[in-house]
């Protein structure tokens, strides 16, 4: 009897626990079922909203709360553009010389005029542009910014076209820089938010470690950055307040609170709980969930990028950058063809991506001016097996390749799916080795990584030279480092050609050439996704041409 009651109690508790878990999960996913709970959920949000709208005790302060990915490690715009939080910051705190849209049309900002040809870059600045600490922006600051960016590894190659050592400061508002060579992508690059102008007196000072950021933008980090650093709570949030010295028209919001979340599930939960006005989302499951209306008062804003996710295969390995190395497994085009044809890319993208991603049909997205529809490599396992047999491998003699997959969920999902497809024809993709950048670094530097998955571009701009830079011979973190003479020539020609129509032609030839050589396997077009409370209708318009949120454009 005793044992039976013990068993019963056990079963009861188990059922209780599981049912609790079940209603916890289902109630939050099927929002329409539980209207009573919705009001409870929305209550804190409503309170927050009304506090923002109605005159509150502390004045009529308009505050926007944004949830972003993990903490930035540094506030250096030249090295921290990749994180979403860093992006938001440079848009609010900084200003670039000008901005460019996807077609390359410029809008002047800090600069009033620019003259650019193969010999010289001549910049005239607006007068009276003030940094948030009260310093005036001069040509010296612009030159310092260029020098800083040229010294940072990630941006080094892109600034190499300028001969900064012989730059001439004509007067406080006039800078003349002689060119080493013409680079057609420079204007686009300098118009990127990451090229915000830094204060030479602050950022150039000894021991300045970019743990604070001062710019000319409409906002500034709360505090003066010297004694008062209250705007920056390590790994919690940063707070942006209005820049009292801003030279332009003041934007809508008085304050931005930007919270860091290392776990996307928690960020998503806080969008539901009403703490956040908007949240940055990357994982297909949450994005898909939001698009189905799982959060009653929030919706999804999704923008396609011009950079494409792809599998990159190293054609040769070893050897430092610019030197020849030994042939890699993928030096045989038949192996590359085999891999390309064994993957059912449309199915992978549609099912794993839960409808969030579009299948890529070129090496750039549809928004780019060099885009043309090249389709996807056809899924044909028999053909793939045939190619692999020609290369001397097969099911009885499998080919082993280790793949570098940087830790995002989407990269990992693509790799895991590809692993099963490739195994079916006799290519064993080993995913067990690497999950983070620091571990792969030595191999990457020694050029010993045979294959990787990731987004092609580094997000520096919309110019095809920037979109394709990753694959080019000058890229130091690319696996590919195209050695094909013809293609390498096209790369160089594309970036040094001033004529727009000719550039289109060159880049289309280049992309077609890379397609024919099976150098990279394009998978899907990258997207940027945000969960936004419905009250903020201006959010979609606040996404700039490089697909980043510009907080200054928010108006409600």
């Amino acid at each position: 009897m005793k044992h039976i009651s013990r068993l019963l109690a056990l079963a009861l508790c188990l059922v209780l626990c599981l049912s609790l878990a079940a209603c916890g999960g289902s109630s939050s996913s099927t929002a329409s079922e539980a209207p009573a709970n919705d009001t409870a959920e929305a209550a804190p949000a409503a309170a927050e909203e009304s506090a923002a709208e109605a005159p509150a005790a502390d004045g009529d302060l308009k505050v926007f709360v944004y949830g972003t990915d993990a903490n930035s490690t540094t506030f250096d715009p030249a090295s921290d553009l990749q994180t979403n939080s860093g992006n938001f910051l440079v848009h609010a705190v900084g200003e670039s010389l000008w901005t460019c849209d996807a077609d390359g049309n410029m809008t002047m900002k800090v600069a009033s005029n620019v003259d650019y040809n193969e010999n010289v870059l001549d910049i005239t600045l607006n007068q009276g542009v003030m940094f948030s600490n009260g310093d005036e922006l001069t040509a010296e600051d612009v030159l310092f910014t260029f020098q800083h960016n040229a010294s940072q590894f990630r941006t080094m190659a892109m600034y190499a076209c300028m001969d900064l050592a012989n730059a001439e400061i004509a007067d406080d508002y006039h800078l003349v820089i002689p060119m080493n060579y013409y680079d057609a992508a420079l204007i686009d690059l300098l118009g990127n938010a990451s090229c915000m102008i830094l204060d030479a007196d602050v950022a150039g000072a000894d021991g300045y470690a970019f743990d604070w950021l001062i710019g000319t933008g409409p906002y500034m980090l709360q505090g003066d950055g010297i004694t008062d650093k209250s705007g920056w709570e390590e790994s919690v949030k940063y707070t942006l307040v209005r820049n009292p010295n801003y030279w332009g028209e003041a934007p809508y919001y008085d304050e931005f609170d930007v919270y860091f979340y290392s776990q996307e599930s928690t960020r998503y939960a806080d969008l539901q709980s009403g703490k956040l006005d908007a949240a940055y989302l990357t994982e297909a499951t949450y994005i898909n969930n939001l698009s189905k209306g799982a959060v009653p008062d929030a919706s999804l804003i999704s923008v396609n990028e011009n950079a494409v996710f792809c599998f990159e295969m190293a054609v040769e390995m070893g050897g430092a950058s610019g030197e020849a190395g030994e042939p890699a497994v993928f030096s045989d085009i038949n192996v590359r063809k085999a891999l390309a044809h064994c993957l059912d890319i449309p199915t992978m993208v549609e099912s794993l991506g839960e409808g969030v991603y579009d299948v890529a049909s070129s090496l750039v997205g549809e928004g780019s001016w060099v885009y043309e529809d090249l389709g996807v490599y056809e899924y044909d396992p028999e053909l793939a097996a045939q190619y692999l047999a020609e290369a001397g491998y097969g099911l009885d003699n499998p080919l082993n390749v280790s793949v570098y997959c940087e830790g995002t969920a989407w990269n990992a999902a693509l790799c895991e799916a590809a692993q099963a497809y490739a195994a079916a024809i006799g290519i064993n993709l080993d995913l067990s080795n690497v999950t983070d950048f620091a571990t792969i670094l030595p191999s990457l530097i020694a050029n010993q990584v045979p294959m990787s998955v990731g987004q092609g571009s580094n997000g520096s701009g919309n110019d095809p030279a920037n979109l394709l830079q990753q694959f080019g011979p000058s890229s130091d973190n690319s696996l590919l480092r195209v050695r094909d003479e013809e293609l390498a020539e096209l790369f160089n020609a594309g970036s040094s050609e001033p004529d727009h129509a000719k550039r289109v032609q060159i880049y289309q030839d280049l992309i077609r050439g890379m397609y024919d050589q099976y150098h990279v396997i394009p998978i899907c077009v990258g997207t940027v996704n945000f969960g936004v409370k419905d009250v903020h209708t201006s959010f979609a318009a606040a996404i700039d041409t490089s697909n980043r949120v510009d907080p200054c454009l928010l108006t409600d």
Partner: protein, 329 residues
Amino acid sequence: MIKYILRRLLLIIPVLLGAIIVVFTINYFSTTDPAMVKLGLSASDPVKLAAMREQMGLNRPYIVQLADYIWRLFHGDLGNSYVYAKTVWELLAGRIPNTLKLGLGAMVISVCVGIPLGIVAALHQNSAIDYITTTFAVIMNAMPGFLVAVILMLIFALKLGWFPVSGAEGFKSFVLPVIAAGIGPITQNARMTRSSILEVIRQDYVRTARAKGIAEGKVITKHVLKNSLIPILTMVGAGLGTCLAGSILVEMIFNIPGMGMLINSSIMAKDFITVQGCVVVCAVVVALANLLTDLAYAYVDPRIKAQYTAGSKKDKKAAEAADKEASAA
């Protein structure tokens, strides 16, 4: 007794040194090069890499680096982070309070809830209360901590809206994380307490006490509880370590900026010096907790106190006397 406390305090130093050595060694023999972590992709320039290695003192032999690290540590310098442009101490300072709140909170509820549960269950063995408590303990003990944390968040933060989902602002935001981190230790304490009491309750001296006609309440408090507290105390001491470690996952799920989150991000970024710093701080906390445990241990069990203080023959005699006293009790 004061002499004993002092001796135990001195003994903490080698323990901490040992912990530092262990962690330093694990990190030292890890395959990643700190200079590369610091430089990132710029490490592809061999000259820069060599210069950075020289600057960071990585070319020195293991023992010199270790000694240097310990030497700086005793001057309050935990080193500079490889990834952040900050010292490790700057990174840690703001996070320690959050982790301590979480860890101590979890430990407190594990003691205040776990031990009474265990006592009640043991004293009413085979009653309904015993079954419910034991079953609760057994099932909760079988649930992975992160699952409990996620379920708590879904129900109490999202569905009911009683507590905030994330953050470390105020008392309310710590309620769910503390429960999530404490649920494991609660169940362990309850189980240990129950079995320990059941063991003691059948000892001859309890039977003797009962036979002597001592009131049941007095038997329980004086004989059973006092004697069964010993193994439970070891659990409580070790529990703080478990609570601190458990806070890693809990901090991540509830987005609490504590040491756990720092450790996790540092490990992912291979920022080993920061990991070392975190572990050293945890080791200090746990060592202090262990000291308190040992003192309590000695206070509760005269035999063990006697063994520690034993030195002279007089002490030994006292110990024997204490021994007899204990077994006669």
